[in-house]
């Protein structure tokens, strides 16, 4: 899952990115509204964390313009403006959630998780495909025999495919969602990650969960989505 952070405070921007990365998200971060809008227009982010008081282009204008370009990325406004009118204005401008600074990191992570889940059409915190259960809150993949231990890159790939179960994604699309812009990505990185996940799943006694659709990409649970 790839998240764009648009926040003018460099310290907050970096610590947020650090925390979200640690929580398993790929993050891009920018400090002004204009570059934030440019990023959001060209990359299909799974979520945007947006400050309102931004240089060059304020957050509300950015949001309205983004919605004008028919980009439906979920947006979580993170602002020091705490008045009801500010929150109402933000939500009416197209935001999906509003969190006032200062905030608790666990609350932010819960909201991020809820927003991404909702955006993918997942109604509960548990996604079951075949013999594998994905607990969104605990960030764990489980089988009847126990947890499937996955490194961050593999986890991000499987999480993305689980939350978009039934949909086929090309290598480029998967790459866009699981790698941040500042990461060096090799051309076979997605194939390598898919192979790694398949090995881990096989070790856990799970059959071929990730289907390869020749010429199209990869897909999980085309017929069995919970």
């Amino acid at each position: 899952m790839r998240i764009l952070i648009v926040e003018d405070s460099s310290r907050l921007r970096e610590s947020l990115a650090d925390g979200l990365r640690a929580a398993g998200y790929a993050t891009d971060a920018t400090g002004d509204g204009r570059s934030g809008l440019a990023n959001a227009r060209v990359i299909d982010y799974d979520l945007m964390v947006l400050d309102l008081m931004l240089p060059e282009l304020d957050g509300l204008t950015l949001l309205k313009q983004l919605r004008g370009f028919r980009r439906s990325v979920p947006v979580l406004i993170l602002s020091a403006k705490d008045r009801v009118e500010d929150r109402v204005e933000g939500l009416r401008a197209g935001a999906d959630d509003y969190l006032v600074k200062p905030f608790d990191l666990s609350e932010l992570l819960a909201r991020v998780e809820a927003l991404t889940r909702r955006a993918k059409g997942v109604v509960s915190g548990i996604v079951r495909i075949g013999d594998v259960v994905f607990d969104l809150a605990a960030k764990r993949f489980m089988t009847e025999t126990g947890e499937i231990a996955l490194p961050p890159r593999d986890f991000a790939l499987l999480e993305f495919l689980f939350l978009n179960a039934g949909k086929t994604f090309s290598r480029a699309e998967i790459e866009e969602h699981i790698y941040a812009a500042d990461r060096q990505v090799w051309s076979n990185a997605v194939d390598s990650a898919v192979a790694s996940v398949r090995r881990k799943l096989a070790d856990a006694g799970v059959g071929n969960l990730i289907e390869t659709r020749r010429g199209l990409g990869y897909c999980v649970g085309a017929k069995a989505r919970a």
Binding site: L12, L54, P55, P102
Partner: protein
């Protein structure tokens, strides 16, 4: 607590009481004088009447032949009763030698008719004296005493003296022709007059009391009604919502005298609301400004705690320390604005040389400036302001630091001190800046971050707000503008009417 109603009532009632007392006393004294005058006139009239009835009888021819100096006998030619009940007064007629010709039986022995002293009137040998006598038994009398020569009855054939005797029927009478001096006294009791005066006094007192009570009632009601608009104004003030959009609603029943007060109160309310609104905006801005560093602090520490690593922990400590320093700066700036308005309310007026002060504070301002901003200082060495040195220094320090901090790399800051006809002036320019002219005044609002250069969190956004606050206290006129070459210019001069050095 003093009350207008009580004060008005007290003053009006005391005033009315004094007027009633004075007018009552004047009325009584005039009436008393009139009563006494009437009594005196009555007594004088009576004594004059009785005096005409004292006659010296003609001298017998033999007596006249014997010496020619004999006097006739004095008689009181009155046939009626001279009792007090009949006369309404006491009567005593006697010669100057004390021979009583007539005397009311009730005439007290201790009552003496005055025969000397000031005379009430004198006419052709008649002298009337008035006196008031108090007897040992307490009785008070008013006496009219007339000393006169009795009339002399003449024989028809007798010689007439001076031709003064008028004719009364068949008898010839010489008025005052007798050589006997007679004292006729009529005394009237003052008891009746005193009773009349007491009754008059009681009537006046009763009238005054009724008038006083009536006045008190009328005044109380009148004052109450007259002060009703104050109560209405008070009720209107009670109904004013401190956060409401309007002041006191127009008072239809307001009296003319209260309209200026109402207008003044409305003005005060408007000013107070504006001040409260400014304070609210300032507090909002301050709270808003605190939210981001607090969010930074919490996120940094939360991440470090949730995913602990030595690198994260060290970074979190460093960043928390930096945030603490920034919060300190924010606090100091807020306090500078708050305290600035009272610390220099009283100050000495020693002239401060402006260029000297700029040179003094400049090193500290440029100490951390590493952007290669050019600095140009020029101006009059003698230009000075008679203002507190610490206040001017604070203004200059904030202006110079602001200019250096918000001037881009390779930009320029120009400082000039000028002596003009209107007095000394200070000017600072920096640029190029990306502020539009319509936003220039907003630079002086607390926490305003209008352009890209002003959005970093290393600066609290209060420097120019402090300048603005201090200029107000120091009575300095401040002008800001965007000049050619996108230079932000801020000029300071003494407010018109403030003495320059």
């Amino acid at each position: 607590m003093r009350s207008i109603r009580t004060s008005l009532l007290r003053q009006i009632i005391i005033g009315v009481a004094v007027v009633l007392l004075a007018s009552g006393a004047a009325t009584f004294l005039m009436a008393q004088a009139r009563l006494r005058a009437q009594l005196d006139a009555s007594l004088i009239s009576k004594v004059q009447t009785f005096a005409t009835l004292v006659i010296e009888e003609p001298i017998h021819p033999e007596q006249s032949a014997e010496g020619g100096t004999a006097h006739g006998e004095l008689v009181f030619d009155f046939k009626g009763s001279i009792r007090e009940a009949d006369l309404g007064a006491l009567l005593r007629i006697a010669t100057l030698d004390g021979d009583i010709l007539a005397q009311t039986p009730e005439w007290p022995s201790s009552l003496v008719a005055p025969v000397s002293g000031p005379r009430e009137s004198a006419f052709k040998g008649q002298w009337i004296r008035m006196a008031t006598a108090q007897l040992p038994d307490g009785g008070m009398f008013r006496i009219a005493a007339m000393t006169f020569h009795a009339n002399r009855e003449m024989e028809p054939s007798s010689e007439r003296i001076g031709g003064l005797a008028p004719e009364f029927g068949d008898e010839a009478m010489m008025v005052g022709g007798s050589r006997h001096l007679v004292v006729a006294a009529v005394a009237g009791r003052l008891d009746e007059t005193t009773r009349s005066e007491a009754a008059l006094l009681a009537a006046i007192g009763t009238g005054a009391a009724i008038a006083a009570i009536g006045t008190a009632v009328v005044v109380t009601v009148g004052v109450g009604r007259g002060l009703h608009p104050l109560s209405a104004l008070s009720a209107a003030l009670d109904g004013v919502d401190p956060a409401g959009p309007t002041a006191i609603a127009p008072c239809n029943s307001c009296v003319r005298e209260l309209q200026p007060i109402e207008a003044a109160i409305n003005g005060l309310i408007v000013r107070a609301r504006e001040a409260l609104e400014r304070e609210r905006r300032f507090t909002d801005a301050a709270a808003h400004e605190l939210r981001t560093p607090l969010a930074e602090l919490r996120t940094i520490t939360d991440v470090a705690r949730r995913w602990p690593s030595e690198q994260r922990r060290a970074a979190a400590v460093d960043q928390a320390s930096a945030i603490g320093r920034e919060l300190e700066e924010l606090l100091a700036s807020l306090l500078a604005i708050s305290r600035g308005q009272r610390d220099w309310s009283e100050y000495t007026r020693d002239p401060v040389l402006l260029i000297e002060l700029v040179r003094e504070i400049l090193p500290a301002c440029v100490a951390h400036q590493t952007k290669g901003v050019g600095l140009d200082i020029a101006g009059s060495e003698s230009a000075a302001w008679a203002l507190p040195r610490s206040g001017i220094a604070a203004v200059f320090r904030n202006l110079i630091k602001n200019a250096l901090e918000y001037t881009p790399r390779d930009g320029v800051v120009r400082i000039a001190v000028m002596s003009t006809a209107a007095g000394a002036a200070f000017r600072i320019e920096n640029g190029p800046v990306s502020i539009s002219p319509e936003h220039v005044e907003r630079l002086f609002e607390p926490f305003w971050r209008g352009d890209a250069s002003r959005t970093d969190r290393q600066h609290c956004g209060l420097g120019l707000a402090i300048v603005d606050s201090m200029c107000e206290v120091l009575a300095l006129d401040r002008r800001a503008s965007i000049e050619t070459g996108r230079m932000l210019r801020i000029e300071l001069s003494l407010r018109h009417g403030v003495q320059s050095s």
